[in-house]
């Protein structure tokens, strides 16, 4: 799977998750959105929910990844900080297999 397709899955997952979130909890749906810090509305529970939804939606495309592990958590720059960095992390993950 290429990076633009991964990005689309991430953005689609955000759009779907937004349907069940309140008006003041909406997550930025743009492909260059920040997920953590700055103006982001995501707290830890929101982040876990989103990452799991992305894992599920990737699995629908025959792509099994586990995004939350010690490796991801212990990086100096978190792969979860933006849509871009997350897409890159997933792309690297797929490539390394």
């Amino acid at each position: 799977m290429d990076k633009p397709s991964i990005k689309k899955i991430i953005v689609d997952s955000i759009k779907n998750l937004n349907l069940s979130r309140g008006p003041d909890e909406q997550i930025d749906e743009s492909p260059d959105a920040r997920l953590l810090g700055g103006e982001s509305n995501l707290d830890s529970l929101g982040l876990v929910t989103l990452l799991i939804d992305i894992e599920d939606n990737l699995a629908d495309h025959e792509c099994q990844v586990s995004l939350m592990d010690e490796k991801a958590m212990s990086r100096n720059r978190s792969p979860f900080r933006s849509v871009e960095s997350l897409a890159q992390y997933i792309a690297d993950f797929i490539e390394s297999r």
């Binding site: 349907l19 309140g22 810090g37 830890s44 529970l45 876990v48 799991i52 939350m68 958590m73 978190s78």
Partner: protein, 448 residues
């Protein structure tokens, strides 16, 4: 310390800053005056001494002043904060709340509920003329347990002077940890700092702006702080001490914290809403071995489980039999290992899912989800998660054809109105086949 001694202390600290919300702060003098105004207001509205009163509203100078006035009026206070707002009706029923005091922006609304409160435990408090506090925690059959505290017993431990820290508050007044932070800080002339939200960014901003010294929080938040990188964008050099409790601390988080905040001491705390928060001492910054107890507390370990006897313990549950043994010890349900005077908490009882420090009982969530029209059966369990300790998974057998994403949205929207946020399943799966056999097994484990 009695309530009036605490109020005298507020007066004594005078113009010092007591509570800060955002960039604005309120002095001890002001809190004292506001509290006296509140007391007059309560009496004018006819709120009698000893009545059970729900205090509903955001954490801030007004709600703190109202709490002190209710304490001075010897009321039994049932705090309802935005964290627990979805459970207000149940709180009011279980705690037999007679009066509601609701703060909403600048508006105050005081009204009678029409309930009568005749619980025998309330009778004891009223006879002694002491104020009370009702705190709720999750219960294994779905209805949270209501722990009744004598506020005079809680205050007793603040007789001894402590350090006046500028302290960021994470937990609100409906949590024993929040109450502990509030009383300790104000009894010692420290400052309470309330961040605009509990996002890492806002917390870091508040620490920088108010030069916060003490951050009592949970491992989950510390994880998020590290992940977000918010600690890099702000000056956190004022921080002296981070205390963490409520859930097991991952070793990797502790390690990273000591690396990025080398000047900060890290200390584990231990407490339950039933026993109050104990004094604790960590063996060093990088371990979760600790010494608990101190004045007013006794501990014993029976079959690997920690039992606590505490002078600040609750009087009992309003909706459960007394959990104390004949000597007054309380079974924490925590499995611990011991090394001389040091102990380490290994895990909670098996059926509990700990999400970011909040205890969750699967049956409570199953009860809510299974009441949905779209759902035929549901099974809820916890999965380890490096960010929040555990996350909640629900396997659902739908009653008709439905797409997974559609089902997820409906379940989340349905749960949002009925459960606290941390109880809403993060992973939702469609069941392959029947849940009965699996559930039977799980259910049996849960009820033992």
């Amino acid at each position: 310390m009695k309530v009036k001694d605490l109020l005298e202390k507020l007066k004594k600290f005078g113009g010092r800053r007591a509570i800060a919300v955002g960039d604005r702060s309120t002095s001890y003098d002001q809190i004292h005056t506001m509290s006296k105004d509140w007391l007059r207001g309560l009496r004018e509205r006819g709120v009698p001494e000893g009545a059970t009163v729900a205090l509903i509203g955001d954490y801030g100078p007004e709600s703190v002043a109202a709490l002190f006035a209710l304490m001075e009026n010897n009321n039994i206070v049932v705090p309802v904060t935005p964290d627990s707002a979805s459970q207000e009706d149940m709180f009011i029923r279980v705690a037999e709340v007679e009066w509601r005091v609701e703060l909403s922006g600048a508006d105050v609304n005081i009204s009678e509920t029409g309930n009568a409160s005749a619980h025998p435990l309330y009778g004891e408090l009223r006879k002694q003329g002491h104020p009370g506090l009702v705190l709720f925690s999750s219960g294994s059959t779905g209805e949270p347990k209501a722990a009744l505290h004598d506020i005079c017993r809680i205050l007793k431990r603040y007789n001894k002077p402590g350090k006046a820290f500028r302290t960021l508050v994470f937990l609100q007044m409906d949590h024993i940890g929040g109450i502990n932070t509030l009383f300790y800080t104000l009894a010692n002339g420290g400052m309470i700092v309330i961040p605009a939200s509990r996002s890492p960014e806002e917390v870091a901003r508040a620490i920088e702006f108010h030069r916060v010294e003490l951050l009592p929080t949970s491992p989950t938040f510390l994880n998020l702080l590290l992940l977000s990188g918010a600690y890099q964008g702000y000056a956190l050099d004022s921080l002296k001490l981070i205390t963490y409790g409520t859930e097991p601390m991952p070793a990797s988080t502790l390690e990273r914290l000591s690396e990025v905040l080398p000047h900060v001491r890290l200390k584990q705390t231990y407490g339950l809403s039933e026993t109050g928060i104990m004094k604790s001492k960590s063996r060093d910054d990088r371990t979760t071995w600790m010494k608990v107890g101190g004045e007013g507390f006794e501990t014993k370990i029976v079959n690997g489980r920690l039992w606590i006897k505490s002078e600040a313990a609750m009087l009992g549950y309003l909706n459960r039999p007394s959990p104390f043994d004949k000597d007054g010890f309380f079974d924490t349900g925590d499995i611990v290992v011991q090394d001389g005077e040091w102990i380490k908490v290994l895990c909670r009882e098996s059926e509990i899912i700990n999400v970011g420090g909040n205890k969750v009982f699967p049956t409570e969530i199953e009860n809510v989800i299974s009441s949905m029209e779209e759902v035929e059966d549901v099974l809820v369990y916890g999965e380890p998660n490096p960010l929040t300790g555990n996350s909640i998974t629900a396997i659902i057998k739908p009653s008709g054809e439905i797409a997974l994403n559609d089902l997820k949205n409906r379940v989340r929207i349905y749960c949002r109105d009925r459960l606290e946020r941390f109880k809403i399943p993060t992973r939702i799966k469609l069941a392959q086949g029947d849940l009965h056999s699996a559930r039977f097994k799980k259910a049996r484990q849960l009820r033992n």
